[in-house]
């Protein structure tokens, strides 16, 4: 029972990371580095919560969260793709903007609470011993995150459109010379990334802790960014990474609860320390890690005229 409870909380901690990171993976595979994940998650979280409270519908909230994330990413896309601004600076600005505006929108919603998203029960299966609750009694977004991982994997490695997206990320000049639409591909990839970050945010405010407080994303956007590198831009590895980081987050809660004699501040910083360690380990393995690195990542594309 005790292990089951831990695993269930690990899943809830991992799902927002997986959703946001999957979107960023697609964005980066197209050659765009969007450091605004944290901001898009915050806006997704507050919009989802506001809409869910106002309409009373969790589904409407989820949809609104995704749309809000996509809308914010559209600003980023216009600046970095059409106006070819610096992606790093623009992404950082997007995060600051997103965190700020989420506070403004959420002002009237602080202190309200609503029930978490319902768990989907599958009669029979959900009551199986050991795995029943873990595998067959999650909320819809947990299943969505896994389906999305499969979908992104299939799209990138099996579909022709995915091949085009990888080509644009690999060399935008070559892609343009071959007649691929670099701009459109990147707009769509950035907006998919924004929608996914919005979903991740929606999960935080509707399922993880069903309420709104300022700064509730608490750095998860940055962990999602690191996860993409950690996973070397591969979807299944990314999902595994999200669960690993989810586990570290939960573990530090339990360790604190069990009264392990380390300062709580140090324990809370564990997921972030783990992120740094993971990035160091990855960058040490040069060629293996870099095989899927989009070579145009972070570079602006300005076609010759």
């Amino acid at each position: 029972m005790w292990a089951e409870a831990i695993i269930l909380t690990v899943i809830t901690a991992a799902t927002p990371l997986a959703l946001a990171a999957l979107g960023e993976l697609v964005t980066e595979r197209s050659g765009v580095l969007n450091l605004g994940v944290e901001g898009m998650m915050a806006v997704g979280a507050v919009t989802a919560f506001a809409v869910a409270v106002t309409t009373g519908s969790g589904a409407a909230g989820i949809l609104a969260g995704a749309m809000a994330g996509a809308a914010l990413s559209l600003i980023f896309a216009f600046l970095t793709i059409t106006l070819a601004t610096n992606q790093v600076a623009t992404g950082l600005a997007l995060t600051l903007f997103g965190l700020g505006i989420s506070g403004v929108i959420g002002d009237g919603f602080v202190g309200i609470s609503r029930p978490p998203l319902p768990q989907l029960e599958i009669p029979g299966l959900s009551d199986l011993p050991l795995v029943g609750r873990i595998l067959f009694r999650q909320d819809a977004m947990v299943y969505l995150s896994i389906a999305l991982t499969a979908g992104v994997w299939w799209f990138l490695s099996r579909s022709r459109q995915g091949l085009k997206l990888r080509a644009v990320g690999d060399s935008h000049a070559s892609a343009h010379a071959l007649g691929l639409n670099v701009m459109l591909t990147r707009y769509l990839a950035v907006m998919f990334g924004g929608a996914c970050a919005g979903l991740g945010g929606a999960y935080l405010s509707l399922a993880y802790t069903p309420m709104w407080i300022d700064d509730m994303t608490a750095g998860r956007g940055w962990i999602a960014l690191a996860l993409v590198v950690f996973a070397t831009w591969m979807p299944w590895r990314l999902l595994a990474g999200a669960y690993l980081f989810g586990a570290i987050t939960i573990l530090q809660f339990h360790a604190q609860g069990a009264g392990i004699g380390l300062p709580s501040q140090l324990m809370s910083s564990l997921p972030y320390l783990a992120t740094i360690v993971a990035l160091v380990l990855i960058s040490g393995r040069g060629r293996l890690a870099l095989r899927h690195t989009p070579l145009s990542l972070g570079k602006s594309f300005v076609p010759e005229r």
Binding site: S171, S174, R291
Partner: protein
């Protein structure tokens, strides 16, 4: 499938034709009123020096660039080519000088972009195999691109182009990256395309190739068309005069001189950069004596950059792996090596050898501040830097708008004369130069080569890394070839035929093992 030429019609319109085609980039006129006509079933050469406007012209023919004014006609009808996709739809295919390939994808995936989305990858792989073999360009469709040699990459480009059955194939300097043997193979493919009734527009500045292969030649100079001729009726000399506009000066060989002691030696140097697309140096050894020039030939991307960086001290190696005048320098940095009398000229003149936003005198500080003590106690000795710069400008005839211009305002050839001249101004005991005349006009190239020969004749040891075989043969006393990061033994230039050098460049150690893959 194949375009047919009807022999009964008296004079079909040219396949593609331009009328007074003009392209401005800001205040620069890259193409000025160019008329060119390419007919089906001919190999048409587009000749010109670097910067003559060849690439601009073909980019307009392929829809990558839009003309400022003028007209393009396809089979007699005016057309507007506003994108590569539009040009491809008409039947124009292009093989780029700088490859438009994707490192992370396989051969078949790279080719897939030329084909309709509905064709499954399995079928594409099968067709790649079939077409590549039928044209004598064998390829493994499932090989990842980053494992392929430069010659194989070019095959991918050509096969991708052929998969669409184009009527006109444009090749931009296709042989500049090939070994002589690979060039032969390419020529056979082009002859076959010609027999099939396709047109080939062949861009080159290699006159002997053009004379051998092409039916017609259009010569560009400074953005203008200067002649259309039958290259078989011309001599390389007359073609060169058309390209350059004046007689070509010849390099004078060094007078007979004694060789001195070994001034630069490399002993079993191995190194790999931590980046994906880098070539590992493997057991590289060489010796250069005072008074001689060692030419390092090789196809692009075989470790030339890495070899240069090792010699120049961009990274360190075992202390005794590199020796200058008998001293171990493997662990020493660039400036310390310079103080020992060595000088280095990297391949990229803008960005590596010079900074565009700085004046030439400031650029002089960049490479000479340590060896010439231009910054005593941290203060810049401006007047001495200006004096050195002035001497370089005079001696190497650097054409500049002012006494101390910004580096970015110089043309490529003049900047190259400056960056080479800056190092030569110190009369270095050891000089390592990578691609000394890349993208430089013939006059400047002759001057730079002559300066290198004169430096060696005065007792210095010189290493010239170059992909230009004519240059290698012109300046070198001994030639070694670099292939996949391995350097062959150096052989005296008089004993080395181009064929043997070609095999060495392809990786056959002695040049005798004729089993090219």
């Amino acid at each position: 499938m194949q375009p047919s030429v009807d022999p009964s019609s008296p004079s079909p319109p040219p396949l593609i034709e331009t009328v007074a085609l003009t392209k401005h980039f800001g205040s620069v006129t890259a193409n000025d009123g160019i008329d060119i006509a390419v007919r089906a079933g001919e190999i048409h050469a587009l000749l010109g020096e670097n910067g003559a406007g060849k690439s601009t012209l073909v980019k307009m023919l392929f829809g990558v660039l839009q003309p400022t004014s003028g007209e393009i006609r396809w089979e007699g009808e005016p057309v507007i080519l506003d994108s590569p996709a539009g040009a491809q739809a008409l039947g124009i295919g292009m093989v780029f000088q700088h490859f438009s390939l994707f490192e992370a994808l396989t051969v078949a995936e790279n080719v897939a972009f030329a084909l309709p989305d509905t064709m499954p990858l399995r079928q594409i792989a099968a067709e790649v195999r079939e077409i590549s073999e039928s044209y004598g360009l064998p390829l493994d469709p499932h090989a990842p691109m980053h494992r392929l040699s430069v010659g194989e990459r070019q095959r991918v480009e050509i096969v991708r182009c052929l998969m669409r059955q184009p009527k006109l194939i444009i090749l931009d300097e296709p042989t500049s990256v090939l070994t002589p043997q690979e060039t032969e193979g390419l020529f056979e493919t082009l002859e076959r395309l010609k027999r099939e009734g396709r047109a080939v527009l062949y861009i080159s500045h290699r006159l002997s190739e053009v004379k051998r292969l092409c039916d017609t030649a259009t010569v560009l100079r400074q953005g203008r068309k200067v002649a259309t001729c039958d290259p078989r009726q011309e001599t390389p000399g007359s073609l060169a005069r058309m390209m350059i506009g004046s007689e070509v000066r010849e390099v004078k060989p060094a007078p007979a001189h004694e060789l001195g002691p070994v001034r630069l030696s490399v002993d079993r140097l191995s190194w790999r950069k931590p980046e994906v697309q880098s070539v590992a140096l493997r057991d590289v050894s060489l010796e250069v004596r005072g008074g001689e020039i060692l030419g390092v030939a090789g196809v692009a991307g075989n470790g030339q950059e890495e070899l240069f960086q090792a010699l120049a001290g961009f990274f360190t190696s075992a202390p005794d792996a590199i020796r200058i005048d008998g001293r171990d320098v493997g662990k020493l940095d660039v400036n310390t090596r310079r103080r020992l009398g060595a000088a280095f000229v990297p391949e990229q003149r803008m960005g590596e050898a010079a900074v565009g936003e700085l004046h030439l005198s400031e650029n002089t500080f960049l490479s000479l501040h340590a060896s010439e003590d231009l910054a005593p106690r941290g203060w810049l000795a401006m007047s001495r830097a200006r004096a050195i710069t002035r001497r370089v400008i005079e001696r190497f005839d650097v054409r500049a708008g002012s006494a101390d211009p910004l580096a970015s305002t110089l043309s490529g050839g003049n900047l190259q004369k400056y960056v080479v001249g800056r190092e030569l101004s110190r009369s270095p005991g050891v000089l390592v130069v990578n691609q000394p005349t890349w993208g430089v006009d013939a006059g400047a190239a002759t001057m730079i080569r002559q300066a290198l020969i004169d430096l060696a004749a005065a007792g210095s040891a010189v290493v010239v890394i170059s992909q230009d075989l004519d240059e290698i043969y012109e300046v070198s006393d001994r030639i070694a070839a670099i292939s996949h990061g391995r350097l062959s033994a150096a052989r005296p230039v008089r004993e080395l035929t181009v064929e043997t050098l070609g095999l060495m460049m392809a990786g056959a150690e002695s040049g005798e093992a004729a089993h090219a893959p």
